[in-house]
Amino acid sequence: MDDTNQSMSMIQAINSALDVMMERDDGVTIMGEDVGFFGGVFRATAGLQAKYGTHRVFDTPITECGIIGVAIGMGAYGLRPVPEIQFADYIYPALDQLVSEAARLRYRSAGEFTAPITVRSPFGGGIFGGQTHSQSPEGIFTHCSGLKTIIPSTPYDAKGLLIAAIEDNDPVIFFEPKRIYNGPFHGHYDRPAVSWAGHAAAQVPTGYYRIELGKANVVREGSDVTILCYGTMVHVVLEAIAEAGDVDAEVVDLRSLIPLDIDTITASVNKTGRCLIVHEATRTSGFGAELSALVQERCFHALEAPIARVTGFDTPYPHSLEWAYFPGPVRIREALKKVMKD
């Protein structure tokens, strides 16, 4: 482990993770729409084609089905493809290749063939992107056996988790909360944007390190209530707690949805007796439902109030009404009050 630290934004940390892994493993291959010469519409792959060549970093035709299908074939050959889906909203044409193929290849071939691919994709709202640049489809992937689903919330985690995902021999869906690529976002769209500079988790080692998949991070200890969240919402939740002032909440940043760190979750809820779940995705059958089910199955007798969910509403993502839709500090604060009262 190289322990020189450097201040990085999340996008820089992701770029660094890719760079480190391309350097270490010549099977790591990046592909996707506009990821090559241009370096990606969010610049995640900037500079990598120039450094590693077009054989290892290349633009693709605009077919998400093809991108994933081809990546699976490359993975079966023995490479470690890291395909990018330009926006998570465009992952659906690839769904069959992901859930029927990548997710099941190891199983159905009894380990003869595997799909060690890491699918990177920016997800989530907060950028006025409308219905097709804002979605949070992570719940779907958590329902499909054979896929891991990872979502970082800081530059440090993004790099360590992405490296672990690429090294993983199973397919990983790596959703990047695009709203916090360039700075943490606390949910107040009307306040000036802040950058990552100065944030503790923006101090990122320049070299190789990994964060084990399946380990949550308790980003704030507390005794009143457990808040389960991930991605952008971690920052919004922290802001809401700060604004509420009077609730000593424990905040668990899941980081890994599958595999889930159930021990950290149950330990926390057993301690606090209350639980609030926050995600941007639509509510019904979102990952929050699974979290709620798991928590009540395991912490039933410890629970003092119903587990509550603050989520995106069950509508398509509405362009101009984004800030009513987005689960911001107001909604979280109000939900906290309710959970504490019940």
Partner: protein
């Protein structure tokens, strides 16, 4: 490499090492632009087949280019649609209005009045000329870059701007990204942000129209980059199997964001050739020649109306500016490209033609431009009275829950109430 990955087989004289070919555009920033790979045949040389021709008898059409306007601005050859000067002027005006509208809305985005805008500069003929070649009642399934269709169908600029501003008069209630218009009244299908999904939908609409003995046909547009999506293939397959009355347009503007057309397969054949694979009649036209676009569209429309099946048309054109307001093309393509582009500008070319036939002059053109700029400015003023994005007037927050279903189910009603309660509790 994964643990189980094998070593590559050693190359031998009989079996040389394989190599991965990765396309490269002719020029990157700082290099000289070059369109030598685009073969431009003289105008007028391509014959015009009968509209009932079997696709098998038309296999050479994807490999040439239908062009009507020659270098001097004369309309020549079998494809010359012989339009009246009035119609030519109307087309010129619609193209110029489209461009004026684009300029203004691009600026509005830069001024923070909206989140997003997409221009079609250089590609105006593809949409505008097609609109005039089709019937007003034919159904259009566009991508985000065919605003010219709406403008040619005389749709209200204010209405379009209301959508761009997501303001209180936006008929789409602020739900959609700017430029994702939906105008049923003008036969203009709701634009999707997901590429090429409109293609099979257009074919389905056309099949329904045929099944009902209707006379209306459908037309769809997608970019050359978008042809790679599976939806394109589904659409062409259905269009072939059921001989659907549909015109499938591929707008080859050479770029898909930062990816040149080679990444869609453009190095190895034309996009019109895609149609050959399905046994669909396929034409390739100079997309910056409004008369050629008109003529090819007309041919395809007549073919569809005569129950002779679908046509695929590749329009060879050039995206003269960035992909959208989110894009900066100087980062990935040669700055010299717009000038090196061999097919000129569609507005200039129609202007030249009208001038050549004595039906237009510099002064009238300048007057038109001034008038159109004024028209757009006036529309903008009206639209902005209804609000701009993030500034004041917009649809009510709780309208968000409407229209997900025809009738609102309890869970949405409950979520709406939850939202209202939270606001109230928070004193907002």
């Amino acid at each position: 490499m994964t643990p189980e990955s094998p070593r590559p087989n050693q190359a031998t004289p009989n079996q040389p090492a394989l190599q991965l070919y990765v396309p490269e555009p002719p020029a990157r920033p700082g290099e000289e632009a070059d369109f030598i790979h685009i073969d431009v045949p003289p105008a007028g040389i391509v014959p015009r087949p009968d509209i009932a021709s079997a696709p098998a008898d038309m296999r050479e059409f994807p490999f040439t280019m239908i062009r009507v306007l020659d270098e001097a601005g004369a309309a020549v050859g079998e494809w010359n649609p012989d339009l009246t000067p009035d119609l030519l002027r109307t087309m010129l005006r619609s193209m110029a209005l489209t461009r004026a509208f684009d300029e203004r809305m691009f600026r509005a985005q830069r001024q923070g009045k909206t989140s997003f805008y997409v221009k079609c500069r250089g590609e105006e003929a593809v949409a505008v000329a097609a609109a005039y070649a089709l019937d007003d009642k034919d159904m259009l399934f566009p991508s985000y870059r065919q605003q010219g269709l709406l403008i040619a169908r005389d749709w209200s600029l204010v209405d379009m701007m209301n959508q761009i501003y997501s303001n209180r008069e936006d008929r789409l209630k602020g739900r959609q990204l700017p430029v994702m218009y939906s105008v049923k009244e003008a036969g203009f299908f709701s634009i999707s942000g997901n590429l090429t999904t409109q293609y099979p939908q257009a074919v389905g609409w056309a099949m329904a129209s045929a099944a009902r003995g209707d006379t209306r046909i459908a037309a769809a547009w997608c970019g050359e980059g978008s042809t790679a999506e599976g939806d394109f293939h589904s659409a062409c397959t259905f269009a072939s199997v059921y001989r659907a009355p549909v015109v499938l347009n591929v707008v080859n503007n050479q770029w898909a964001i930062s990816s040149f057309s080679g990444f869609a397969g453009g190095e190895n054949t034309t996009f019109a050739a895609r149609g050959l694979g399905y046994g669909i009649a396929s034409l390739r036209v100079d997309g910056n020649d409004p008369l050629a676009v008109y003529a090819a569209t007309k041919w395809a429309a007549e073919r569809a109306r005569g129950n002779h099946g679908a046509t695929l048309i590749e329009h060879v054109t050039y995206r003269a500016e960035g992909h959208s307001t989110s894009d900066d093309p100087t980062v990935y393509r040669s700055a010299g490209e717009p000038n090196a582009w061999p097919l000129g500008d569609p507005i200039n070319r129609l202007q030249q033609h009208l001038t050549a036939i004595g039906e237009w002059d510099q002064a009238r053109h300048a007057a038109m431009d001034t008038e159109l700029a004024e028209q757009v400015r006036a529309a903008q003023k009206l639209a902005e009275k209804n609000g701009t994005l993030g500034h004041g007037l917009h649809h009510s927050m709780d309208s968000m829950f409407e229209g997900v279903f025809e009738d609102m189910p309890w869970h949405l009603a409950e979520q709406r109430q939850e939202m209202l309660d939270e606001w109230r509790a928070a004193g907002l």
